[in-house]
Symmetry: C2
Subunit: 210 residues, 2 copies
DNA sequence: ACATATATGTAGCGATCGCTACGGAAAGTC
DNA sequence: GACTTTCCGTAGCGATCGCTACATATATGT
């Protein structure tokens, strides 16, 4: 994600005071990397700071606290890695092709070798301490959004006459979302791309013509 | 510390020395409860000790350390909650009914209201600190065992002529295991039993006759 | 130049972590 | 009884946690 500002890549500041000496977005991406590999709780502020090339006070001044930094990193992750894939599912007119393409893309994302495996939305805030409940809740809401998107797309498939009118769209949407989440666990367990592709194929088979 | 055992439920000891003053298995079950609710890392020794009704030295003398206690608790969990269900899958002669029954049982287990939701094998050791890698690896091996069991059962279904010879048993086994793991996340997210039943139905639909 | 405002690095706060040293208590053995 | 062995509760170890007080550095506004 090159911001591609010829002029200062460091965000311009309009107010008084010493300007920030680091690239906020670059630091955020480094933080994402750490959170992605380790999860919310095991990623320590010290390690985040090292990766971001800053010290704790700068981190807290720029991002609030660990939880806010995490949530902002997750938002960045979603935008960079998933928004396009979800949008494509809505853009593809044929519902079966839409789902097939989505899961093919998902397996590619989840097994990207240059990235930690698994989706940070699914795995990042599991087993967080009780005082970080709000972080877990925020990610849960994001996971639920996936089910909603599947559901809407399937409903449109029924309206468009591409799926049988008696299709249990809620059940299928539930199942697709459940599969997607299970795929993150498999990916973090080191599943191969071929292995996840098999799962993706079975996912699309749920919509097979009868 | 009232032992209050008429007959010693406490394991008999043959050697010299002061006998253990608590019920090891009861303590293990309490530990399981804590680990199940919180996961490995967020469950502190202090909290475990409170739940088990003992002090740290007793815990370490009886169970080794936190990781060993966790793994022993997980073993107990598997035996109590899942062994019977897996065995039933092998015992049922019809492969479709075997899978259907398995997933029906699984939804029941995963949404048991008196138990923490989700499977500790799937969720318990996600996001553990790096120094507990061995715990994560042990649970990963247990998860893989599920895929193996599905695979064996499906292969038998092909041999028995109940499934088409060209069934991609590896793919289906992969998918069933992935679904099962996703169901744990959904359960811990508070999914209703009805919701998971829908997923279970879709799982069995993967084996629908063609 | 001076005041104001924000960011920075150092250094360390209080709290919690997993774990254990220690001395006393409760059993078997003689 | 004394000796040995094991377990008990207390109390606290060193390490790490998220986070911040503080003094200093660097910008703008006038």
């Amino acid at each position: 994600m090159p911001a591609s500002d010829p002029a200062p890549k460091i965000s311009p500041h309009r107010t008084k005071g010493r300007p920030r000496s680091f690239d906020r977005e670059a630091a955020l991406e480094q933080a994402l990397k750490v959170f992605w590999e380790k999860g919310f709780a095991p990623a320590s502020i010290a390690e985040l700071c090292t990766a971001m090339g800053i010290n704790p006070p700068s981190l807290y001044a720029a991002f609030g606290n660990k939880a806010q930094l995490f949530l902002e990193a997750v938002g960045h992750y979603e935008r960079v890695f998933w928004d396009e894939t979800w949008d494509a599912m809505d853009g593809e007119p044929d519902v079966r092709r839409a789902i097939t393409t989505f899961f093919a893309e998902a397996t590619a994302i989840l097994t990207k070798p240059e990235a930690p495996c698994g989706c940070i939305v699914v795995l990042g805030a599991i087993n967080v301490p009780a005082e970080a409940r709000d972080v877990a809740d925020a990610l849960k809401a994001l996971r639920d959004e996936g089910r909603r998107l599947f559901l809407e797309r399937l409903r449109r498939g029924v309206v468009d006459g591409q799926l049988p009118a008696d299709t249990n769209v809620e059940a299928v949407a539930n199942t697709l979302n459940t599969l997607l989440q299970g795929m993150s666990i498999e990916a973090s367990d080191g599943a191969s791309r071929a292995q996840l592709d098999q799962v993706a194929d079975c996912a699309t088979a749920l919509l097979a013509k009868r």
